[in-house]
Symmetry: C2
């Protein structure tokens, strides 16, 4: 059980100052007040005021995503969401969903039963039910058409991919490949469109032989890397950091030097991006801001303002995995992976168009 003293020690200030911050006193600066409140949330300290107002409740659903520890993708998103929500005196409950742990009730009944005013879903569960939900609900990286109770929040793929292609073309790359995620995801489709849009915007040829789908799975890199290099790629833009890590590891296996022979760019800026060698150039999604913006969208949905999409601007973080173009050499033997004899994993740019 966290106490005011714990917060005081963490911040190196007097406990009395902490309680001033928690109790919204006037003789403490707004900045310090904000810091105290943010730290209290981060340390799971519950103020009396929060305890009192149990009528105002929001629920965050997390599906198959790490969120317990700092550095977990979900941790900062939820932290940012809570830090913004507490200012309006919301009580926030986090409910993990897994194939084994589903809701016992239909979504709407579950929310009403537990007197949740709104939901924030990080993951892809519950989609069928959300088509018609009447509960204000914000989806991270997902979208449902024609339901004014649903908002989509995320990061602006167009701006992110455009920043990365700016960077690569400035270095001299023209054969830039896209190793994308799962063809059936909206984000994958967005990132493909952003890639196509930016390549054309930079007067570069859009060559579908430089586009592959890696299902956001690190291992998929080995299926695609040889073909992409074979097709002339000098740089590979990856749908997320996991795919980029897969590419870096496969390059090591194939003795392809990064960045001398191949430049690699990720998306997300997960902690591993700066731990791996070479450190990964990647497109940063600020997860605290994503959480704050998700709360903002939910706030307006609850106020009956039908937010459709609310996206953040990403930043490009340049590290050691990108440089002037070189030429990678791949032995023929590596071109197709043994466990993929009929090449079903080979690039297919049309797949996502079915969606």
């Amino acid at each position: 059980m966290v106490t005011i003293k714990d917060i005081a020690n963490r911040l190196g200030i007097a406990p009395s100052t902490v309680s001033k911050g928690l109790n919204d006193a006037n003789d403490i600066s707004p900045e310090l007040k904000k810091l105290v409140l943010d730290t209290a949330i981060e340390m799971d300290y519950v103020t009396k005021r929060m305890k009192k107002e149990t009528r105002k409740r929001l629920c965050v659903f997390v599906e198959n995503m790490q969120y317990e520890k700092p550095g977990d993708f979900g941790f900062d998103i939820i932290l940012g969401f809570k830090q913004a929500a507490v200012r309006d005196n919301w009580e926030v409950t986090v409910t993990p969903i897994t194939p084994l742990l589903q809701l016992h009730d239909p979504y709407d009944r579950y929310m009403v039963k537990n007197s949740f005013h709104g939901g924030f879903l990080v993951g892809f569960a519950l989609m069928a039910q959300l088509e018609t939900t009447t509960i204000p609900t914000v989806l991270f990286d997902n979208y449902i058409r024609k339901n004014p109770n649903i908002a989509h929040v995320g990061t602006d793929s167009f701006e992110g991919i455009d920043l990365a292609i700016d960077h690569l073309t400035t270095l001299g790359h023209t054969r830039i490949a896209l190793l994308n995620g799962s063809p059936d995801s909206m984000i994958t489709a967005n990132r493909y469109d952003a890639y196509a849009n930016s390549m054309l915007g930079h007067n570069l040829e859009l060559d579908e032989n430089l586009v592959a789908y890696g299902y956001y799975v690190e291992e998929s890199a080995k299926y695609h890397l040889p073909a992409l290099i074979e097709n002339g790629a000098t740089a590979i833009l990856c749908g997320n950091d996991l795919l980029a890590v897969g590419v870096l590891r496969e390059c090591e296996r194939l003795h392809i030097k990064v960045p001398q022979e191949l430049s690699v760019v990720g998306f997300d800026n997960l902690p591993i991006a700066c731990e791996i060698s070479p450190a990964l150039t990647t497109i940063n999604q600020d997860r605290i801001d994503l959480g704050r913006n998700s709360y903002a969208a939910l706030y307006w949905l609850i106020a009956k303002v039908p937010i459709s999409r609310s996206l953040l601007r990403p930043r490009l973080i340049v590290r050691a995995s990108t440089a002037k173009p070189g030429v990678a050499k791949v032995e023929l033997g590596q071109k197709k992976h043994p466990s993929d004899p009929d090449g079903t994993f080979l690039p297919d740019a049309r797949a996502h168009k079915d969606k």
Copy 2:
């Protein structure tokens, strides 16, 4: 000078109740409090609290747009913005910009000099300066790449056009034309992409002969209508209500019966949409909500959350200008407008692609 009594009369409640609402008293319901505050803003009543806090200032710039009277496109946007901003004790100044009335200073200096913390621009002025501004600024229906101090707010064209094409295909239309705005506007490009996306999504042929650019000018309808009908259009989706009004008037001139021979859909739901005959089926942009959402985006920009885009869901409002498909007859003589001998206004779907 508006008084508490005026507000009381307008709402039919006691002046004492009004002042309770204005002074955030506890013995008055939140709903009534909200109503009193909204009405005070609408009637330009300035509370003492608002007068006190002159440090917190926002500026709304309106370019070449009516906003003084209820029903003006800009009026409700600004009203919604003010109603949301006042809750956070912002003082909002509205500054019209015209070719004759420009800012004397560069934008950033102007904002700092007048101690404005942020700006909301309804119009297309100042773009060059906004490329690099450091002042949090929200743009209605406009976007600037790679400046994290700028956010784009508006209505989700994809959802709006998709709702309209749902409606028209349900009625049996397959030859649906798009009479779009100015090829050089971002919104025009969005609406073309939304149209293409939705036509393909409804398994309808995307025929560039059914796409024309009307520059958001009512008169342009006469240049395009004959060609679009000649090319088989049984329904015309217009980039805004002005273009749709132009189409309705041109149909009257050419003795084309709407909706029996041609269905027409607008975009915006301006007051004229229900005044004209036949009343216009159109895609509604809720201008109060646009204003509230614009304030929300500016709030987060000021809090250093780099909102990129924040869009609202539109609604389709079905009136008398759409029905089952018929066949319009146009005399050859009308096919090309005399003042357009070389047909420079004829459909050109590629124009906006240059942007």
